[in-house]
């Protein structure tokens, strides 16, 4: 079981695309089982015994699951038995578009397994998979390893690499910088490889500094505790949200931890103005928010950073246009642009986030980490009071993650109120002042940052009461 690691833009996805025949290599050799091979298409990759499982399940939404499998020539019974092994049930006559995403991922995995491949390529398979399904994936991977087959596992989650993999290769700037055994040396060494030794130490020092800071929540924010709450959620009911109440004060970072599908999507959507609550109240600065469109929420100072960068960015437009976009969302501001003012605000935002805008005219050419920074920069340039972050560090490299954590803390120190949802539990103590957990559409627990370790969080996320130590 071999992990492939690297910062965003290091070349992992490109390598996978070459291995699976999506793009052709410009040079070098591919040796499979001692023989040179050239892979020019996904079907050829399959023939040679390589089975990829990409981040976006390669299933066509308008065909049924059965038809999808027939399309690729996958054996239905084989897939069914693999699914049974993983304890996942799928209705084969259902349209692939109606199947929930995590189940679709498992299906994709089952399909790859059913082909009995020599090499299994898993690209970020555990991202956006709930922990119970991720566990089953690891079980499958271990079983596969026992059978003498190989797995190439691409991930950003270092904890998983240390727990599961035999070896790890780190890519940086398009070449491999080393292969190591993860258990000896752990995260520190891997990050060193990824960032380059000197940068790693500097980053470690910086993050140590930041970590020291974040351990003292509310520091430098004495006013925070007594100030009027910026956002009050009272008994809100919307979709999978049954009844949620909490309040958010200026200068505070409130974490929200939840397993997949417990209501966090609908909660964020409601707060951001994308959908209307069926019951309950949302108060911003004491006044009720009746949002029928994100515009209303934005006007009340409540802004959203979504998990999927593609939803928030204008791919063909420049960084500047992307950052300035929300400024013109009202017809009242459709007139001539004040260019110098705009330039100033945009530059401030770019500097605050340290966005690398070198020579790129279109945002789609930026690395994932930089793209995510742009989605946050938009709000810096337009102003806000409450920032809703939904899994902002998903699929981002370690260096950028650190930058985003410290940025969020700085924003909070400056008086912003931040609601922070993440699927990586280790992030909560680094960023938040306190954490609430959501289960079954209700808040099941509240923990101060110091007590928000993985175990306690997981317990609360599953709706279980805290263990009395």
């Amino acid at each position: 079981m071999h992990a492939l690691l690297g910062a965003n833009g290091a070349g992992k996805s490109t390598l996978v695309k070459v291995l699976t025949g999506v793009i052709r290599a410009d040079g070098g050799r591919l040796v499979l089982n001692g023989e040179d091979v050239r892979i020019s298409s996904p079907s050829q990759a399959a023939r040679v015994g390589l089975a990829p499982v990409f981040q976006d399940p390669a299933l066509v939404p308008d065909l049924t699951v059965a038809q999808n499998l027939r399309l690729t020539g996958a054996p239905l019974e084989g897939v069914r038995s693999r699914l049974r092994e993983m304890d996942v049930e799928v209705d084969f006559s259902e349209q692939a578009g109606d199947v929930p995403l995590p189940v679709l991922r498992m299906l994709d995995l089952a399909r790859a397994l059913a082909r009995d491949p020599q090499l299994l390529l898993l690209d970020e398979i555990t991202a956006a998979l709930p922990s119970d399904l991720a566990e089953r994936v690891f079980a499958v991977m271990r079983k596969w390893r026992e059978r003498g087959r190989s797995v190439l596992f691409i991930t950003h989650r270092l904890a998983e690499v240390i727990a599961v993999c035999d070896r790890a290769t780190v890519l940086r700037d398009g070449s491999d910088v080393g292969t190591l055994v993860p258990q000896h040396g752990g995260e520190r060494r891997i990050v060193e490889y990824m960032l380059g030794a000197e940068v790693a130490t500097a980053a470690a020092k910086a993050s140590e500094l930041d970590e020291a800071r974040v351990r003292l929540p509310g520091d430098g924010n004495a006013a925070g505790a007594a100030a009027e709450p910026t956002l009050e959620v009272e008994g809100v009911r919307a979709g999978t949200v049954e009844s949620v109440s909490f309040s958010l004060r200026p200068g505070e970072v409130l974490g929200l931890a939840a397993l997949e599908g417990q209501g966090q999507d609908d909660l964020f959507a409601t707060l951001a103005g994308e959908r209307r609550p069926e019951g309950g109240d949302v108060l911003v600065g004491g006044r009720p928010l009746r949002a029928r469109h994100p515009y209303d929420a934005i006007r009340a100072g409540v802004v959203l950073v979504p998990a999927d960068r593609l939803l928030a960015l204008l791919p063909q437009r420049s960084v500047r246009e992307n950052i300035a976009a929300p400024r013109y969302n009202s017809p009242l501001r459709w007139g001539p642009i004040n260019l110098s003012f705009e330039r100033r605000r945009v530059k401030e935002a770019i500097d605050a986030l340290q966005i690398d805008t070198r020579a790129y005219r279109q945002v789609r050419r930026l690395s994932g980490g930089n793209q995510q920074k742009v989605t946050i920069a938009r709000w810096l340039a337009s102003g806000f009071r409450t920032l809703l972050c939904f899994d902002p560090t998903r699929g981002i490299d370690v260096g950028t993650k650190q930058q985003i954590y410290s940025l969020l803390r700085r924003l909070a120190d400056g008086g912003a109120a931040i609601l922070f949802f993440s699927s990586e539990l280790t992030e909560f103590p680094l960023v938040c002042d306190r954490v609430v957990t959501l289960y079954g559409g209700r808040i099941t627990g509240e923990l101060p940052a110091a007590a928000a370790d993985e175990a306690s969080l997981l317990r609360a996320m599953h709706g279980l009461a805290e263990e009395v130590a």
Binding site: H293, Y295, L314, P326, W334, G335, I337
Partner: protein, 332 residues
């Protein structure tokens, strides 16, 4: 955008360098094609009739003819920037032509204003269908154009006093200083307004944004339907202006007055480099596209090509130009 001399990167073929240069400076390629076509037409004209084509009168005529097409293509550019298409520009122009001549007896100002208002209104209906009812633009504009045509046919069959106001005639077909067509005085300011507006106004930014990623726009608080509504309405208004110029040139409105301009209006936008999927492009390229198509039409007329040959060549050339553009922007 500086048109600096291209540096040849090491290991890059001259072709690749040319391709990269063209991709970064698309207007240059278009100007090249335009001038080239003019020269070809000149050669052919001399061969056929001994007269030059690269003469001031001919250049001026080309611009005169190009103006209505360029106005139709202006609205089309805006619509295509948002990722849609407007197949009703020709019928809207015809409506403008009929209204301008049908109400001409009430005075030029009233006739012109009413024609533009009707064009705006037709565009508004398109916008309502596309933006609020989420009807596919192809279908909506297509359906509305058929409705408009039917309505106009009925209107034209009733006896009415058609009077094209003098000023409309002048602007539609006249020139001043011997060589400068009056319609440039209409087209020019509109072109400037569009180019500057797209670049330097909030509305311009929103047009590009909506075409690039309407979901992201919504999350940024943009009410996309507002942008689309105004874009289609403006397109209708510009089409009506084109119709006014056409009726000024023709001195009479007839149902087919703008029909030959529908598909060229789409072609001009594509040739000019605006992506049909929306989110990138601009009017500058469209202007060149319109000029190129106008010269092309003259060339084919001079070649005494039958309507059939003309059509086939037209199709082949559109394809070739679009292919050229796709090739230069490959990998971008």
């Amino acid at each position: 955008m500086s048109a600096a001399a291209p540096e040849v990167a090491r290991g890059e073929s001259r072709l690749e360098t040319a391709r990269r240069f063209l991709a970064e400076n698309p207007a240059i390629a278009l100007i090249f094609v335009f001038v080239g076509l003019f020269v070809v037409t000149d050669i052919v004209n001399r061969a056929q009739s001994g007269h030059a084509f690269l003469a001031p009168t001919q250049v001026s005529t080309t611009f005169l003819y190009a103006a209505p097409l360029a106005l139709l293509a202006a609205g089309q550019t805006l619509v295509m920037l948002t990722g849609g298409v407007d197949l009703s520009v020709a019928t809207t122009a015809t409506a403008g032509a009929f209204v301008a001549s049908g109400t001409g007896r009430h005075g030029a100002a009233a006739a012109i204003l009413l024609a533009i208002a009707i064009g705006f209104g037709i565009g508004l209906v398109n916008g309502i269908g596309v933006a609020i009812f989420r009807v596919n633009p192809l279908i909506m504009t297509l359906g509305l154009s058929s409705v408009t045509l039917g309505a106009l046919t009925i209107y034209s069959q009733r006896r009415f006093v058609a009077l094209v106001p003098n000023i409309v005639n002048t602007f539609g077909s006249g020139r001043f200083l011997t060589y400068i067509p009056y319609d440039l005085l209409i087209w020019g300011p509109i072109a400037a307004l569009i180019i500057l507006g797209l670049r330097y106004s909030g509305f311009g930014r929103m047009i590009y944004a909506v075409g690039d990623n309407p979901v992201a726009c919504r999350l940024a608080g943009v009410r996309v339907w507002q942008v689309l509504l105004l874009v289609y309405a403006l397109c209708g208004a510009f089409s009506a202006v084109a119709g006014i110029l056409l009726v000024g040139f023709n001195d009479a409105a007839d149902l087919g007055i703008a029909a030959p301009f529908l598909l060229p209006s789409v072609a001009a936008v594509v040739i000019g480099g605006t992506s049909i999927l929306g989110g990138s492009g601009g009017y500058g390229g469209t202007i060149l596209g319109a000029l190129i198509l106008t010269v092309l039409d003259s060339l084919l007329t001079i070649l005494n090509a039958s309507a059939a040959i003309k059509q086939m060549l037209y199709g082949a050339i559109i394809l070739a130009l679009a292919w050229l553009y796709a090739w230069t922007s490959r990998g971008e």
